[in-house]
C-alpha cells in the first residue's frame, strides 16, 4: 500500500488542495482587509497537497471525472508523470510564496485590499493546477482563462498608479491575443480529429502544421518567447513581488507544460517544422532576454528579462528533443526533454527566490532602482546570501541546480552534433553550444552587476542606508528556496528518476540516470573541504599576523563617498557597446560650468537605448489597429438609442432564425 493510497489517492489530494484554496478564496473575498494566518495556512496546505500528489503519488496515470459538462466535452482531468512534474513546481513555489506574502503585503496595506489579493492568489493557484491537470482542450481553455484573469487582477492590485494600470492592460491585451490564437488552434485540431481530448490529438504531416503554429503562437505569448515577450518586462515590475514570483516562476511555465503535452509526449500534434521553430526562437529569446536584462536598472524588470532568457533556454531543450526525434535519436530526444523540464523546475525555484529577494528589498527600502541601492549585504545579510545563491544558480554555476539542467542541454546539443545528418546541422549544433556559453557569460555579467551594485559597496541613498533585515517569514521563504537550489543541483541523480518517467514516453529502454554521470555530491564535498582547509590555514596565519581594517584605497584623496563607486550603467557599458547596434545604445555626456573646458563643475552621463521591436513593429501596428477600430466603432456605437434597439432586434431575429433551423 503506497503513501498516496493511505492519503486517499491522488484524486482526493487534488480535491483537498482545491478545498483549501477555495477556503482561502472565500475568506479573502469576505474580509478584504485581512491578511493573516487564517488565510496563509490554507494556502500552504493546498500547496502541500499538490506536493503530495507529485512526490508520493506513484507514476500511474489516473483519470478524474467530475460530473460536469462543457458542451460536448466532459470535465475531465488526468494525473500522469508530466502533470505531476508541474504540480510539484506549483507546490514548491506556492509554499514559500505563501510564507513570504504576509510580511511583504504589509507595506502595501494602505493602498491595496489585501484580502482580495489573497483571493486572487488562491484563484491563480487553483487555475494553474487546473491547467496542468486538464485532460481536454475545453477544460484547459476555461482554467487557462481563469489563470489569465486572476493574474491580471493581481498585476493591477496596486491600481492607484497610472503606470501599473497601463502595464496591466498591456498584459491583458497580450494574454487575450494569445488565447485567441490558442482557441483558433484548438478549434482547428478539434475539426481535424473530432475530439477535445488531448490524447486523441494524433496529427502529423502537413495537416498538423496549421493548428500547431496557431497553438504555438498562443502558448509562446504566455511563455514570453521572443518576439511575443513584450508584456513580460512591463507586467512583472508592476505586480507585487510574490505575484511576480508566481507569474514568472510558475504561470508562464504552464505554457511550457502545454507545449510538451501537445507537441512532444504521448499522442501529439507532430509537425516537423515546430522543432526548428522552437530551437531558433528559443536561441533568439535567450540572447535577447539577457542583453536587455543587462541594460535594466529596475531590479524587477531585469529579472523579467531574465525570464525571457530562461524561457528561451527551455524552448531550446524542447527544440533539441523534437529535432532529435526527427533524426531518430531517442536518447538525445530524451536528453533535450529532460533538460527542458529540469530547467523549468530550476528556473521556477531560482527566479521566485530572486523575485522574493527583490520584494524584501522593496519592502524595506521602497526602492527597486539598483543605482540607489548598495551595501545591503551588511543590512540584510540573509536576503543577500539567498540572493547570491539564486544568482549563482541562474548563471548555471556548479554545484547549483541551474548548472545541472544547462549541462543536460549542452549534452543535448552535443548529441545533435554527433547525430546530425548534414554538415550544416552538425555545425549548427556546435555553434549552439558556443551560443549557450555566450548566454551564460552574459548572465554572469548581468548578475554580478545586480548583486554587486545592490548588495555590495556603500549605500547610494539614505533609504538604502537605513534598511534592515526583512521579517522572519520573508527570510525563511528565501532560505527555503536557496537551499532547494543547492539540493536539486547536488542531488540531480535523484531528480532524474521522476524525469525519466516522463521522458520514457518518447523513447523507452533508455534510463536517464545513466546519462547523468557527474559526481556532484562528492564534488560539492571536496569543494567545501578544500575551501575549509584553505580557510583554516589562513586562520592559522592570521594568529601571528592579524588583519588590519582600513579604508578602501582612494589614491590619497580622502575617504571615498558612495558616488565614487562604479554604477550599474557603467558596469554594463562595455558589453552594451559591443551589442549596441541591436538596441541603439548611446551615451550622452554633458559637461557644464563657467569655464567648462578647464574647470568642469557638473558632468552628467546618461545612457539610452531603444527596443526596436516594440517601437518600430508593435507600436505602429497597434496604433493602426486602434485608429481603424476607432473609425469603425464610432459608427457602430454612435450613442443613439434607436440604433441600439435595432441591433437588439437584429440579434433576437438571428437567434430565432438559428433556433428554428
Amino acid at each position: 500500500m503506497s503513501v498516496s493510497e493511505l492519503l486517499g489517492g491522488s484524486a482526493a489530494c487534488c480535491g483537498a488542495a482545491l478545498f483549501f484554496w477555495l477556503a482561502a478564496f472565500i475568506i479573502g473575498m469576505c474580509r478584504p482587509k485581512y491578511s493573516g494566518p487564517a488565510i496563509t495556512i490554507p494556502m500552504i496546505a493546498g500547496s502541500v497537497c499538490l506536493l503530495l500528489v507529485a512526490l508520493v503519488g506513484g507514476y500511474e496515470t489516473i483519470f478524474i471525472r467530475v460530473p460536469w459538462f462543457l458542451g460536448d466535452a466532459g470535465f475531465f482531468f488526468t494525473v500522469d508523470p508530466l502533470s505531476r512534474w508541474f504540480l510539484a513546481i506549483i507546490g514548491i513555489v506556492g509554499i514559500p510564496v505563501a510564507i513570504f506574502s504576509p510580511g511583504y503585503l504589509h507595506h502595501l496595506r494602505h493602498r491595496v485590499s489585501l484580502g482580495y489579493v489573497w483571493a486572487a492568489l488562491a484563484l491563480l493557484m487553483i487555475s494553474m493546477a487546473g491547467v496542468v491537470l486538464s485532460a481536454n482542450a475545453l477544460v484547459f481553455l476555461v482554467t487557462w482563462e481563469v489563470m489569465a484573469i486572476s493574474s491580471f487582477v493581481l498585476v493591477i492590485s496596486d491600481h492607484e498608479q497610472r503606470e501599473i494600470r497601463r502595464a496591466a492592460f498591456i498584459y491583458l491585451g497580450a494574454t487575450r491575443t494569445g488565447t485567441a490564437f490558442l482557441m483558433a488552434g484548438f478549434l482547428w485540431a478539434h475539426y481535424l480529429t473530432g475530439s477535445w481530448l488531448f490524447t486523441d490529438w494524433a496529427l502529423s504531416g502537413t495537416a498538423a502544421l496549421g493548428p500547431a503554429i496557431l497553438i504555438f503562437i498562443g502558448l509562446a505569448t504566455k511563455a514570453g518567447c521572443w518576439p511575443f515577450h513584450l508584456w513580460l518586462p512591463i507586467a512583472h515590475p508592476a505586480a507585487p513581488a510574490p505575484v511576480s514570483a508566481l507569474m514568472s516562476g510558475v504561470m508562464i511555465k504552464t505554457a511550457i507544460y502545454a507545449m510538451v503535452r501537445i507537441f512532444i509526449v504521448g499522442n501529439h500534434i507532430n509537425a516537423p517544422a515546430i522543432g526548428p521553430i522552437l530551437l531558433i526562437l528559443g536561441a533568439i529569446s535567450a540572447f535577447w532576454g539577457v542583453i536587455f536584462a543587462l541594460l535594466q536598472h529596475d531590479l524587477k524588470r531585469l529579472l523579467a528579462y531574465h525570464s525571457v532568457e530562461n524561457i528561451g533556454i527551455i524552448l531550446m531543450g524542447l527544440g533539441v528533443s523534437l529535432i532529435a526525434t526527427s533524426y531518430n535519436a531517442p536518447v538525445i530526444a530524451q536528453l533535450g526533454l529532460a533538460a527542458a523540464l529540469f530547467h523549468t523546475l530550476n528556473h521556477a525555484i531560482f527566479k521566485s527566490l530572486l523575485f522574493l529577494g527583490t520584494g524584501a528589498i522593496d519592502a524595506r527600502t521602497h526602492l527597486r532602482n539598483v543605482e540607489q541601492l548598495g551595501g545591503l549585504i551588511r543590512r540584510m545579510p540573509w536576503t543577500a546570501a539567498a540572493f547570491i545563491v539564486g544568482s549563482a544558480s541562474i548563471c548555471a554555476l556548479p554545484p547549483l541546480n541551474g548548472f545541472a539542467s544547462e549541462w543536460l542541454l549542452y549534452q543535448g546539443f552535443f548529441g545533435l552534433a554527433m547525430n546530425g545528418p548534414s554538415v550544416g546541422s552538425r555545425l549548427a549544433a556546435l555553434f549552439l553550444m558556443g551560443w549557450l556559453a555566450l548566454i551564460g557569460a552574459l548572465a554572469i555579467a548581468c548578475f554580478v552587476k545586480a548583486v554587486g551594485i545592490v548588495f555590495l559597496g556603500v549605500p547610494r541613498s539614505e533609504k538604502a542606508e537605513n534598511a534592515h533585515e526583512a521579517g522572519p517569514g520573508m527570510v525563511s521563504a528565501q532560505v527555503i528556496l536557496a537551499v532547494l537550489c543547492a539540493v536539486l543541483g547536488i542531488a540531480a541523480t535523484t531528480v532524474m528518476i521522476p524525469l525519466s518517467q516522463i521522458t520514457a514516453q518518447i523513447g523507452n529502454d533508455v534510463s536517464l540516470t545513466g546519462v547523468w554521470t557527474l559526481p556532484m555530491p562528492l564534488l560539492a564535498i571536496i569543494l567545501v573541504l578544500t575551501v575549509g582547509a584553505i580557510a583554516a590555514w589562513m586562520n592559522q596565519l592570521s594568529k601571528a599576523h592579524p588583519s588590519r581594517t582600513f579604508i578602501t584605497w582612494e589614491c590619497g584623496f580622502g575617504d571615498l563617498g558612495p558616488r565614487t563607486q562604479y554604477t550599474a550603467a557603467s558596469f554594463a557599458q562595455p558589453i552594451s557597446r559591443i551589442f549596441g547596434a541591436i538596441y541603439g545604445y548611446a551615451t550622452q555626456i554633458t559637461v557644464g560650468g563657467k569655464n567648462r573646458r578647464l574647470f568642469p563643475q557638473t558632468v552628467d552621463a546618461e545612457t539610452t537605448h531603444e527596443a526596436y521591436l516594440e517601437t518600430k513593429v508593435y507600436a505602429p501596428f497597434l496604433r493602426n489597429i486602434q485608429r481603424a477600430a476607432g473609425v469603425f466603432l464610432m459608427r457602430l456605437q454612435a450613442g443613439s438609442v434607436h440604433q441600439y434597439l435595432f441591433y437588439m432586434a437584429l440579434v433576437l431575429g438571428l437567434l430565432i432564425w438559428v433556433g428554428v433551423h
Partner: protein
C-alpha cells in the same frame, strides 16, 4: 608504488610547476627588455613573503571579499588536477570528473565570486576591473566551449581524458590550439589584452580587480592565477602536441617531459610576445578575440564535416 608516483606527480604539478612557469615568463620578459630580471624562483620567495605578512582589509568589505580568494584557489586546485594540462596521467576512475563543461563552469564559479569581491570594497577600480573582466569572459567563453566542443566531436565524448587520449585530426588541433592560446592570453590577463605589470590603474583589468588584496589573500590569489596559467596554456600545448601522431603513443613519462618542455616554450613565447607587442586599446580587444572565435568556428566546421 603507483599511488606514490601519482602523489608525487600531482604534488609537483600543483606546487612547483605553476610558480616556476610564472617565474620563467617573468625572467624571459626581463631578458627581452635588456634587464637581468629576478631569479626564476622569485615567485616562490614572493609567495613566502606575502604569507608571512599581515593583510589590510577595507572596512567596506563583507564576507564575499574574504571568501572569493579561498574559493578561487580551491577551484584552481581541483581544475588543475582534472585538466590534463601536463599530460593525461589520471586514473580512469576520475573519468566522470573530467567533463570539460564541468571544469569550465567550475572556473566560472571562481570568476563569479572574484568579480563580486572586486565590487565589494566600493572602489571604482574594482568596479572597472570587474566590468572589463566580465566583458572579456563574455568574449572568451563561447570560443572555449565551441573549440573544445569541436575536439570533443572528434573524440565523440565531452570528457577531457577521452579527448586527449587519442590522436586528434591535425587541422582541428592546430585551429583549436591557436584559439586556445589567444583565449588564454585574454583569460590570464596578459598582453596584448591586459598588462600584468602596469602601474596605471585605469589600464588594468585583473590588477584593478585585486587592487584591494594584500598579504596572505594576495598570496593565494597569485597562486591561483599561476595554476590557471598552467591550465590554460597547458591545454593549448597538449592540443597542439597532438598534431604529432606519435605523441599519444609514447609512454607516460616521456610524454610528460615533452609536455612540460613544450609548456615552457609556450611560456617563453608569451614572454617574447609581451616584450614585442603593445597593449591593445580596450575597444580593440573584441576584434583581437574575434580571431579566436573564428578559429574555433573553423575548427567546428572541420569537425562537423569530418564526422
Amino acid at each position: 608504488m603507483n599511488t606514490l608516483i601519482l602523489f608525487i606527480f600531482h604534488a609537483v604539478n600543483l606546487l612547483v610547476i605553476p610558480l616556476l612557469l610564472v617565474g620563467l615568463i617573468r625572467k624571459f620578459k626581463a631578458l627581452m627588455q635588456n634587464r637581468t630580471g629576478a631569479p626564476i624562483l622569485q615567485p616562490f620567495y614572493d609567495l613566502a613573503k606575502l604569507l608571512r605578512k599581515s593583510q589590510t582589509v577595507s572596512k567596506t568589505a563583507s564576507w564575499v571579499f574574504t571568501l572569493a580568494p579561498l574559493v578561487s584557489l580551491a577551484i584552481a586546485l581541483i581544475s588543475a588536477i582534472l585538466v590534463p594540462w601536463s599530460s593525461a596521467l589520471l586514473n580512469p576512475e576520475c573519468a566522470p570528473w573530467t567533463n570539460f563543461l564541468l571544469v569550465l563552469y567550475l572556473l566560472a564559479l571562481g570568476k563569479f565570486l572574484t568579480l563580486l569581491a572586486a565590487i565589494d570594497t566600493g572602489s571604482a577600480f574594482g568596479g572597472l576591473g570587474a566590468s572589463r573582466e566580465a566583458t572579456i569572459s563574455m568574449l572568451v567563453e563561447p570560443t572555449l566551449i565551441m573549440g573544445l566542443g569541436a575536439l570533443a566531436l572528434g573524440a565523440r565524448s565531452t570528457n577531457l581524458l577521452t579527448i586527449y587520449a587519442d590522436p586528434i585530426n591535425p587541422f582541428i588541433a592546430v585551429l583549436v590550439g591557436l584559439a586556445l592560446i589567444i583565449t588564454a592570453l585574454a583569460e590570464l590577463s596578459r598582453m596584448p589584452v591586459d598588462d600584468p605589470t602596469t602601474h596605471l590603474e585605469l589600464t588594468m583589468v585583473h590588477e584593478a580587480m585585486i587592487l584591494e588584496y594584500s598579504g596572505r589573500s594576495l598570496a593565494i590569489i597569485e597562486y591561483a592565477v599561476a595554476l590557471r596559467t598552467c591550465i590554460f596554456l597547458g591545454l593549448a600545448v597538449q592540443t597542439l602536441l597532438h598534431i604529432w601522431p606519435e605523441y599519444y603513443a609514447l609512454s607516460i613519462f616521456p610524454r610528460y617531459l615533452i609536455g612540460l618542455s613544450a609548456l615552457s616554450i609556450l611560456g617563453i613565447a608569451v614572454a617574447v610576445a609581451e616584450g614585442v607587442l603593445v597593449k591593445l586599446k580596450w575597444r580593440s580587444v573584441p576584434n583581437f578575440l574575434a580571431y579566436a572565435a573564428i578559429l574555433s568556428l573553423l575548427a567546428a566546421l572541420v569537425a562537423a564535416a569530418q564526422v
